[in-house]
């Protein structure tokens, strides 16, 4: 179209497209697929694959038998040649189609603005499929009191196995956690010694895979990256703008979030890098005032990682503070014997998650204000940078003494909902479901003997399904 033309409803034709008409057309509802559409398609696809396999086997058999039997079975030979001709024609057609497509080289058109749901889906996909990420994390709080504790620039490296390394760029300090050895080492200044540059060495061992028990000190990354991904996943709606951020195409998702309290934002502006699907900047505000801004520079997805990246050598002679939290990797067949009860495991595992760690602590520890108990089993499942954890521990003599084990008292947990299960070991038991913009989504529940938690990067439906599928650990469950 050349020039601009008025549309009766105020639409304008600019360039090739009528943008207003296009927006109106896009706003028309589109029916969802009928129930069972996916299952039907998958069944058809599987039948197709089975059919191909059968044809392949038939061809193999034909090939094997052709040399010896062609003279004896000329008809069969003709059949083979007919099939060969068909295959050749199909191949020729494929090549022709490929050539056509190459020659046609469908040129790209201008893209419509993505919806908020699409941006969320892109972020979720990126998070769930990455093997690792690296970059520079910059945190900038506006409130001076918080800023003095939180602000800074760190070079970070995070892998899908849970290893991470944080190196201070504008201050001294480094933390490295090796998931294989379950050892975290750090050199850092003391928060209680303001102005001092003295570095203290610490080594943590026996760490749990994560909440509700003490896991690696990845809170900085979790607070500034993981929580953003969770906030996006938990949120609804929002407006998307196409923007350029640091010279790269990006989406700016502007959304309101239910505030988690005085220190938590009620509004986020999240810039998502279109190429990678990762959030690269977050501006968090409350009542229109910016509370903090975080951003990631030099983001690299699936970086090459040196073997030594997650080990940290202390300077010779340095005094090292060592703490053992009591968790140990364990083969699944040894778990029941060690803890003295039959642990529970989910039989429903959401797509592409895999069991990555089985850890046990016999050492009594407490979560929040809960009773201190040992014999804790923690199962960690991972999918890209996503993780969810299933834990069990003895309930002890006083079930009423238990509160949410995942609530660390920092105000993240709000809006608990009660759910009742109809299957598994939690059948007819009430569970407590927490999905908030800044809390790790989780469910906790009590059986007669156990406290059970399921927490991590799961949707509400997945959480309920996983918790509802919990059953006694069977001997056939293989160790990761």
């Amino acid at each position: 179209m050349n020039g601009d033309r008025e549309h009766p409803r105020g639409s304008r034709v600019t360039g090739e497209r009528d943008e207003v008409l296009g927006a109106a057309l896009r706003s028309l509802p589109v029916p969802a697929h009928r129930p069972g559409f996916d299952a039907n398609l998958l069944a058809n696809l599987r039948a197709e694959v089975r059919g191909r396999d059968a044809t392949m086997r038939e061809r193999e058999a034909d090939r094997e038998g052709s040399a010896g039997s062609r003279l004896a079975h000329p008809g069969r030979s003709r059949a083979w040649h007919r099939r060969g001709l068909t295959i050749s024609l199909a191949a020729a057609a494929s090549i022709a189609l490929a050539l056509f497509l190459m020659v046609a080289n469908f040129p790209g058109g201008s893209l419509r603005t993505a919806s908020a749901a699409e941006v969320r889906a892109a972020v979720a996909r990126a998070w769930a499929s990455a093997r690792g990420i690296a970059g520079v994390l910059i945190v900038d709080y506006r409130a001076p009191v918080v800023a003095s504790q939180q602000d800074g620039r760190w070079r970070f490296l995070l892998t899908a196995e849970g290893d991470f390394r944080l190196t201070g760029l504008d201050h001294a300090g480094v933390i490295a956690y090796d998931a294989k050895t379950d050892i975290e080492r750090s050199l850092s200044t003391s928060a209680s010694m303001a102005g001092s540059n003295e570095l203290f060495a610490a080594e943590l061992t026996g760490l749990a895979p994560g909440a509700p028990d003490a896991g690696p000190s990845s809170a900085l990354l979790d607070r500034n990256l993981g929580s953003v991904v969770r906030a996006l996943a938990a949120g609804r709606g929002g407006r998307v703008h196409e923007v350029t951020y640091q010279g790269r195409a990006a989406w700016l998702l502007d959304l309101k979030v239910p505030s988690g309290g005085a220190l938590f934002p009620d509004h986020l502006q999240v810039t998502v890098d279109r190429q990678t699907g990762f959030p690269v900047r977050v501006i968090a505000s409350q009542d229109g005032q910016t509370i903090y801004q975080t951003r990631i520079d030099d983001l690299t997805v699936n970086p090459r990682i040196p073997a030594s990246a997650f080990s940290l050598k202390f300077p010779a002679g340095k005094q090292v503070s060592r703490t053992d939290f009591g968790f140990r990797h364990m083969a699944t067949e040894d778990v029941g014997r060690t803890v003295g009860y039959t642990p529970v495991v989910p039989t429903f595992i959401p797509g592409r998650y895999r069991l990555s760690d089985v850890m046990v602590s016999v050492k009594p520890t407490s979560t929040g204000t809960n009773p201190s108990v040992g014999d804790i089993v923690s199962l960690s499942y991972r999918r890209g940078l996503d993780q969810f954890i299933v834990t069990t521990r003895p309930v002890g003599p006083n079930p009423k003494a238990w509160h949410d084990p995942v609530d660390n008292g920092q105000g993240h947990v709000q809006g608990t909902q009660r759910v009742t299960f109809s299957s598994g070991v939690l059948a007819n038991k009430a569970g407590h479901l927490v999905i908030g913009p800044f809390a790790a989504p989780h469910i906790w529940a009590l059986t007669d003997k156990l406290v059970v938690t399921v927490s991590g990067d799961l949707t509400r439906a997945e959480l309920v399904q996983v918790a509802g599928s919990l059953g006694p650990l069977k001997s056939h469950l293989r160790s990761p």
Binding site: L25, A32, A98, R112
Partner: protein
Amino acid sequence: MTPIGDEACHSGGRTAAPEQEGVAEARALERARAGDLDAFVELISLHDRALRALAYRLLGDAQRMDDVLQEAYLKAFRSLHGFEGRSAFGSWLHRIVYNACMDQLRRRRSGARHLSLGEVDALADPMPDPGDVAAQRLDLAAALASLPPELRATVLLVDAEGMDYETASQVLGIPVGTVRSRLNRARGLLRRTLSDDERGRDGS
């Protein structure tokens, strides 16, 4: 596996996907070609919403939309080995779906009838919200349904999905000039029917 029809998925018509999307799509393609059904479903999911929109607007019936998409997705799976493009996968899929819809319309031709605006009301989308917006949507859905399918597809691909004329011409299998003329006709007819309808409602 990404559920098909998940509204959180990318919409289709994206013929110039960013490099990373293209790479991710190419990887999914490789896996799908190797027989990974989840990868194929993932590919389909990227474009499913746009394809549902196209099929539904062309066929005017959710049941037929699903039937045709089942057929088209299966056809796409069978033809994957012949697909070498990367960022043009969405266009290729659109072409398959468009052709399947047109085949379905041709098969129905004997029993088909051209719907009047009044009849089209019955096909119009459910209105989640009352008032002007809903009225406009109903008008637009009805006006769109009154267009010949070829014009409907053109205006949907270009104005709604944001395809450029070249891409739309590949999907529709027509020259660029025809895309241009179909668009002119479609927009003109939409304007006229919407204006007529507005006058009718105003009593003028």
